[in-house]
Amino acid sequence: MTPVKTPSANPLAMKERMKVPRQHMPEQLAQIRATNFTEVNLGYPAELARQEALRCLECAKPACTDRCPVGVKVKEFVQLIVAGDFLGAAAKIREDNVLPAITGRVCPQEDHCEGGCLMGKKVQSLGIGYLERFVADYEQQHLDIKNIKRAAATRKKVAIVGSGPSGLTAAGDLVQKGHQVHVFEALHEIGGVLVYGIPEFRLPKQIIREQVDYMRAMGVEFETDVVVGRTVTIDELLDEEGYDAVFIGTGAGLPQFMGIAGEHLNGVYSANEFLTRINLMHAYEFPRYDEPMVELAGKNVAVIGGGNTALDAIRSALRLGAGKAYVLYRRSEAEMPARAEEVKHAKQEGIDFQVLTAPVEFLSNGQGWLKAARCVRMELGEPDASGRRRPLPIAGSEFELPLSVAIMAIGTSANPIVQSTTPGLETSKRGYINANPETQRTSRKGVFAGGDIVTGSATVILAMGAGRRAAKSIHDYLSTGAW
């Protein structure tokens, strides 16, 4: 049979498609979800998904795919939804993205696919993230992972260090090429930041487990409780354990603090610790789980920062009963790096956004616990190195905000463990691993790196993009032996 270019099954004319409104994502009511940790978005039912898919203009040169860090063939998978072939749509996404149920939930689509969507320029962009999530969830319910075919073995062994988005993506791509892939994870659960960082109400752990099970079925091996650099070194993996290549995707490192007075007080957390307690260690289920969390019920809680991590932390605090939950962000809402949908959801839930505001000191209650933050209002000056307008304190604007808990979500620095135990692995001045942005090759032969440990804090999808490029480059290296 000759392959035929998929004809569009879309019965609507272009003009009619523009008239179909973007289908609303069903979600838990704000007042209800603010008190629980179950997922905010409920997902499209099949009918809404098909309705939304009909809106695709099927551009000749789709910007959505161009702007996707892993290059998902959006138009094609959406056409398959229109045709009612949901499993086919899932398979189409999986050609480029091994974690569709995750990206469908946490990707900042407005910065990538949906930001490129032509519909967005006219009316409202196609709900690509919602559609991706729909087909991924449909696949989970309808595909028997026992039937997943494994690629013919190449007898090459690849070690993946870290099971976050970059590592999982590299693992998924490499196992499909027939390489033996072994993933080392330092923590006791697979998923890295997806597990310790992103809360249940945005990305249920069950979803990650299902995606990981899918990868196991593809042949990927996982080993927890291994801190590469301490438990085993990169050189030992290459020289003693017989790996032909290593991918380092160890992710974000230690949290940064502002260096202001009072940051050591009890009640001042890093977002990483706050979220790790809640997500990885289930502190929100204390005492059924042993990990404790300070009592938040009725307390004033603030997060400092405006990224996804900041919103994840403060919305978690709200769900643990915080009386007042503030976001203190030193720039304006326009500069806020968080996903648009998260900002919207947080506002609906009653989070108080104090933008153009920064703490200058944390005050003690006299017994070592946080009592208040002394804050200052800011205004925006000239653009800084990041291209965003620099926030400048307004003289005389200082005020005291009573707080029991403050959560610092102002970024992370490089985790030093792998770099300090791998001779010859070049790093930047700030301690991140130097890797070629196209091939993800490091200064060490056979060693590749990608994700936050190369770029500093970024997003899940950007880390996945790096994992994908690394997998391609590792495959080339394993096939040719050329460095």
Partner: protein
């Protein structure tokens, strides 16, 4: 899963476990620690590695019953398993020939000081070991510390063994006697390490302490283990656990370690209630069985055999002992 190949109490409430953890055993160096999680709902806690045997693939950990997790762990026996053991974590101790080194262990901290003392001895140092405990029964690793030191001194708070007093008394004596000391390593309760730092600061003797802040991942991610060093935040899991004692802010360490005291008490209290409730049920069941035994001996024996097995698992004598000891 990590199998316990041997477990035995070495002092009241202090148990030594030999755990199969081949990867950790191969890499462990003095001064490093492990984090473990006992079961799915468990917390992650950092624990001292006393020594390791790379050939057998085992590590020794020494655990003092303090909160719920350590009480539960200390009820584990040979043949039991631990869900997660990860390590070795932290930077190893700096080992070189310093000259004369005083290694001080307070209570269960002695287990952390021991491997470093052994390595320092091997590196050619003259090692003076000072081991302190509350009382005679709580003095641990006396023989082992004796083997790796040139001089071993022991103090007990109550004078029930060796010399009455604190380890710092011995340190002061050494200094007063004009002993040249090139390095002091102190591992123990925070007040002890702080007292040692205060003594040596005046004498300008380089002093290293091993800190035990609250820690979750132990891999340089969460930042929970931050300690104030010269008024700057450092992280015990990647920058430590050993720090220059004269630069450590011990007050903040004490304050931060108390952050979850209430929750820890609640966990422990509920755990004790669970054990007590179980004890009551088991007691009632056994009493009923006694009654049944009187009338129908055969049937009673069968039931008794089955029930007894259950009781042995759920209500071991040492669980009672540790819980009793806490009261």
């Amino acid at each position: 899963m990590f199998k316990i190949v041997h477990a035995a109490f070495i002092a009241p409430g202090i148990k030594r476990f030999v755990v199969e953890a081949p990867r950790v055993a191969r890499k462990q160096k003095p001064g490093q620690f492990v984090i473990l999680r006992l079961y799915e709902q468990g917390e992650r806690i950092p624990l001292t590695i006393e020594r390791s045997d790379p050939e057998r693939g085992t590590i020794n950990i020494v655990v003092q019953s303090a909160g719920k997790t350590t009480h539960l762990l200390n009820s584990f026996e040979t043949g039991d398993r631990i869900l997660d053991v990860v390590g070795p974590l932290g930077k190893p101790s700096e080992i070189q020939n310093f000259g004369t080194v005083v290694v001080m262990g307070g209570g269960v901290g002695t287990a952390m000081a021991y491997p470093t003392a052994a390595a320092l001895k091997k590196a050619g140092n003259r090692v003076i070991a000072i081991v302190g405990a509350r009382n005679k029964e709580l003095v641990i690793l006396e023989r082992e510390m004796g083997e790796v030191s040139d001089t071993l001194m022991i103090t007990t708070d109550d004078g029930s063994y060796a010399e009455k007093g604190f380890v710092t008394d011995k340190l002061r004596q050494l200094i007063q006697n004009g002993t040249r000391i090139d390095l002091v390593l102190a591992v123990g309760p925070i007040p002890m390490m702080k007292a040692v730092a205060d003594v040596t600061r005046k004498e300008h003797i380089h002093t290293v302490v091993s800190l035990n802040p609250i820690m979750i991942d132990g891999t340089g991610m969460c930042g929970g283990c931050r300690v104030l060093i010269d008024s700057k935040s450092e992280f015990a899991c990647v920058d430590g656990p050993e720090f220059d004692a004269h630069r450590v802010n011990f007050e903040v360490l004490v304050q931060r370690n108390a952050m979850y005291r209430e929750a820890e008490r609640r966990s422990m209290a509920e755990f004790q209630q669970e054990i007590e409730a179980k004890r009551q049920t088991v007691r009632q069941e056994l009493e009923q069985l006694c009654g049944m035994n009187g009338s129908r001996r055969d049937a009673g024996a069968t039931v008794e055999g089955r029930r007894d097995a259950g009781a042995a698992v759920e209500c071991r004598p040492d669980v009672d002992a540790t819980v009793g000891g806490l009261r």
